[in-house]
């Protein structure tokens, strides 16, 4: 894959992770019927009121062309409707893709290289004008313009002619691989089979933008709403964003967004400790407040756990993510599968899970794919280490590998206290491997230096802590960037850390991409993960879990496994 794509994909992955890690999802109260009277989460939701969103990161570049979202984003999805979107349901059901502006998930033809969508009837913008397929085409085209960069690279990679297209502003040319035979139909021509196109169509780039209303880089100040809310105030590039009802949005055309509050006030730039403190105090307007990017850290969770009323206001979210040990088999001694297996056996997942915040914030992982069905999760444990590791087995393997007296290796980690690739996790592994006769030296790097070093084949260490999340909940974007030999990037960001280039694996990836039956594809991803997992190219450590607080008058809390965060299109404050 081309380098720029991968850079942005990585950035995106990081962004998604930030969003989720920054704020754990708070949910669960939706199904906790026994919540006491103080917590309104179980009450019947009503329209009206103002919902306050307390966030750490601002909603920067609020232009559908520029946003890099998973499933259309949380706040953006209130304003921007897309061809498809994520199912707004709790848990696993929320990892499904469903139609939004389109009547269905699209009709594939020619081996999933052509996708046709038909728009629903009665779709309108905030000014009352009708939404047409030409607007969707134009919205996608403008996302190719250099001045509106920021979105995911998939459209550029997948659409015929996308690689060389420079957007509609230069010479006014359109992209021929998107056809609009009539105002309700849009057809996409792809360079290769992509059975997961419906997932891509959830991103805000498929939001309609009428050419007549396009103001280029200024469009983000007042984008034309197609969703239930319109932007009435945007201060400090998304630091303060006030949304009010869009009178022309019709619930009849939108099965996903509930839009209970009349007004949504997004305040960003807050410290995560402040957000959690304000949500736990739940005073004044904070009673009707939620966060979409801040989670409870271990210490905060410990404090909340001791308070029944508070813990009733904590929701749990899962976002497909895996933290793992990555090996670079080009570096000795990790070229020897026995050494990699020995380390796989020596790992003590119980102390790693504790270092990551305990069993409430991390689930032990033995698969590379996240433990969710939509990714094709197929349970396997190629090197069963038990709860606390199997140092005896590890020693045996090391002996076979020619290290009867143990060996010394260096583990590279991030110095940032992120409970994912941080020193606590590294020292937990150091202790566990000590029991197997492996002396681990730690090399901690500052956040940026860490990413630059480990995700570049020129500087990639042999043994480091990594993490990976995908742009949508399926095996494709999760598995392929890490194990597809054609996605090894020679210069720039590379995520195929093992530099695996196995023709059989590559071929299977191509085969799965042709499948339009997403559950059949998921199964094949799971099987492929298991097969690759036996090579011990990574040691899966844990899947993070996110805990999120919300105010005491917040009702109808929904947290999907797609985002792992509280969906504000569902929240009611009355």
């Amino acid at each position: 894959m081309r380098q720029p794509s991968v850079i942005s994909r990585r950035v995106a992955a990081a962004a998604v992770v930030l969003v989720v890690v920054g704020g754990a999802a708070a949910c669960g109260p939706a199904d906790s019927k026994d919540a006491d009277g103080d917590s309104g989460a179980a009450g019947k939701p009503h329209k009206g009121g103002t919902l306050t969103v307390l966030n750490s990161s601002p909603q920067e570049d609020f232009d559908p062309a520029r946003l890099y979202t998973s499933g259309g984003g949380n706040v953006p999805s209130l304003v921007f409707r897309t061809l498809t979107t994520r199912n707004r349901e709790d848990g696993a059901a929320g990892a499904k893709v469903v139609p939004d502006l389109a009547t269905d998930l699209g009709t594939p033809s020619k081996d999933a290289t052509v996708w046709t969508y038909t728009l629903k009837d009665g779709l309108k913008y905030e000014d009352g004008s009708a939404i047409t397929s030409a607007d969707i085409k134009y919205g996608i085209e403008r996302s190719f313009a250099a001045e509106l960069s920021g979105g995911a690279p998939y459209l550029r990679d997948w659409l015929v002619g996308g690689a060389d297209y420079e957007g509609p502003y230069k010479g006014g040319k359109g992209l021929d691989s998107i056809e609009t035979p009539d105002a309700k139909t849009i057809v996409f021509h792809l360079v290769k089979p992509e059975g997961e196109f419906p997932y891509l169509a959830t991103q805000t780039q498929t939001t309609p933008v009428p050419k007549a209303k396009d103001t280029g880089t200024k469009y983000e100040e007042h984008p034309l709403s197609s969703g239930p809310y319109k932007v009435v105030e945007n201060e400090g590039d998304g630091e303060r964003l006030v949304l009010e009802r869009n009178p022309h949005w019709s619930q009849a055309t939108d099965e996903e967004r509930k839009a209970y509050p009349d007004r949504i006030d997004v305040r960003s730039g807050l410290d995560s400790a402040v957000i959690n403190q304000r949500l736990s105090a739940s005073q004044g307007t904070d009673a009707a407040a939620v966060t979409t990017d801040t989670n409870l850290g271990p210490a905060e969770l410990a404090k909340v756990a001791g308070d029944k009323k508070l813990s009733a206001r904590v929701g749990t979210g899962h976002f497909g993510y895996t933290n793992y040990i990555a090996f670079n088999p080009k570096v000795k001694p990790f070229d020897d599968p026995k050494v990699r297996q020995a380390i796989s056996y020596a790992v003590d997942r119980s102390s790693v899970v504790n270092a990551a915040g305990g069993s409430a914030l991390a689930e032990p992982a033995t698969t590379f794919l996240p433990n969710q069905k939509s990714f094709g999760y197929t349970p396997y444990d190629a090197f069963p280490a038990g709860r606390t590791g199997d140092p005896a087995k590890a020693k045996e393997l090391l002996k076979e590998a020619g290290y009867p007296n143990g060996l010394t290796v260096t583990l590279t980690h991030n110095n940032e206290k992120n409970f994912a690739t941080s020193p606590e996790i590294a020292t937990a592994l150091q202790e566990a491997l000590k029991k197997a006769g492996i002396t681990v030296k730690l090399q901690g790097l500052e956040d940026n230096a860490y990413s630059d070093t480990v995700y570049n084949i020129k500087s990639e260490p042999g043994f480091f802590l990594g993490g990976w999340g995908a742009d949508w909940p399926s095996g494709g974007p999760f598995f392929a960037p890490v194990f597809d030999g054609r996605q090894i990037v020679k210069s720039g960001y590379n995520f195929n850390s093992a530099q695996l280039d196995d023709p059989a694996v590559n071929k299977e990836i191509d085969e799965i991409n042709k499948l339009t039956d997403l559950s059949a594809a998921a199964e094949r991803w799971g099987a492929l993960d298991k097969k690759v997992g036996e090579q011990a190219l990574t040691v899966p450590l844990f899947h993070p879990v996110y805990k999120r607080l919300y105010g005491k008058s917040v009702k109808n809390v929904v947290i999907s496994d797609w985002t792992g965060v509280l969906d504000i299109s569902q929240v009611a404050v009355k």
Binding site: P298, D348, V353, N354, N415, T427
Partner: protein, 327 residues
């Protein structure tokens, strides 16, 4: 503050009552200094005997104990007061279950060791530069004094943050921190030594020595250094706790000591979010740091007054203290 006080005072010539015995006698008479000395001695003992003490406790500072924390609620230590028990004298660390006593004892080695190294370096450089400036010709004095002025203006923390980020990870961190703090923090001593040297130089016995053909080195060694000992020791004893604080601050900011080696500052940094959920975790290193710095400062004051009894009497003028100072 201590620095300002001392620098001001440095203008006057202090010729201490010579001999170690009166010094000890005066120091012993100050009860606060005695208590402080005992505390410091205990801490040094704990630091030196860290392996022995944690061996008696049956723990080591890096072993994880996943079963001693409540994994389901964020990893709070099980049991009351942060899991204090016969096996874990000060309880365990949240998340990891590492033994706090062992970490604190080993952390003392780092905190005290780094501060000691840094202070010694500061003294050596400061005395060297100060003496050279005081004894050298006008050109040397000007050059060294301006250099000292520049170093005074150097922000220790900023330089340390930069240097720690640049130096390769393989370099032992405690040594590096001691080096940085030592190399940046000698200006106070050098100023005092220069001022004292200039004042001492004009005294008869030094002038006599010079007239009888002694070289600067000989004069420094025979005549000046003994007289400089009092202010230098005093200043060094006060620098020591501030160096502890610098190391703690650097480790607190995450650029100091590397895990798994414990240091008090790093423990404080890890503990700062836990003050509500596991207060013991924060209190143990915080109190230790507080007690250590306090004890050293009190001891420093004691040493200062014991070395220079007139300082105390000067301080008491107007207070009508019943107990007349000075021996």
């Amino acid at each position: 503050m201590a620095e300002a006080l001392l620098v001001k005072e440095a203008g006057s010539v202090t010729v201490p009552a010579s001999g170690a015995r009166p010094f000890w006698r005066r120091l012993r008479r100050r009860r606060s200094a005695l208590v402080a000395a005992v505390v410091v001695a205990l801490l040094v003992l704990v630091a030196l005997a860290a392996p022995l003490l944690s061996g008696i406790e049956g723990q080591n500072p890096t072993a994880y104990h996943p079963d001693l924390v409540d994994s389901a609620t964020g990893g709070v230590p099980l049991g009351s007061f942060g899991g204090i028990s016969g096996d874990h004298w000060l309880g365990v660390e949240p998340l990891t279950g590492r033994d706090l006593f062992a970490r604190v004892a080993y952390g003392a080695r780092v905190s005290l060791g780094v501060a000691l190294g840094a202070t010694l370096l500061q003294v050596v450089i400061g005395v060297g530069i100060g003496l050279s400036a005081g004894l050298g010709n006008r050109f040397v004095d000007q050059a060294l004094s301006r250099l000292t002025d520049v170093v005074v203006a150097l922000p220790v923390m900023v330089i340390a943050l930069g240097a720690l980020a640049v130096v390769p990870a393989g370099f032992p961190r405690p040594v590096l921190i001691a080096l940085i703090v030592g190399l940046v923090g000698w200006s106070g001593i050098s100023k005092i030594v220069r001022a004292q040297t200039l004042a001492l130089k004009s005294l008869d016995h030094v002038a006599a020595a010079r007239l009888s053909g002694w070289g600067p080195w000989q004069i420094a060694r025979r005549e000046l250094l003994p007289a400089l000992a009092a202010p230098v020791i005093t200043y060094a004893v006060l620098l020591f706790p501030s160096n502890i604080v610098v190391e703690a601050a650097l480790s607190f900011l995450g650029v100091g000591i590397k895990p798994p080696t414990p240091s008090w500052g790093q423990m404080l940094s890890d503990a700062d979010t836990w003050y509500q959920a596991a207060p013991t975790y924060l209190l143990v290193p915080a109190l230790l740091l507080f007690v250590t710095v306090l004890a050293l400062t009190v001891l420093g004051e004691g040493v200062r007054t014991a070395l220079d009894p007139r300082a105390e009497s000067r301080l008491r003028i107007g207070t009508r203290s019943k107990k007349e100072a000075g021996a």
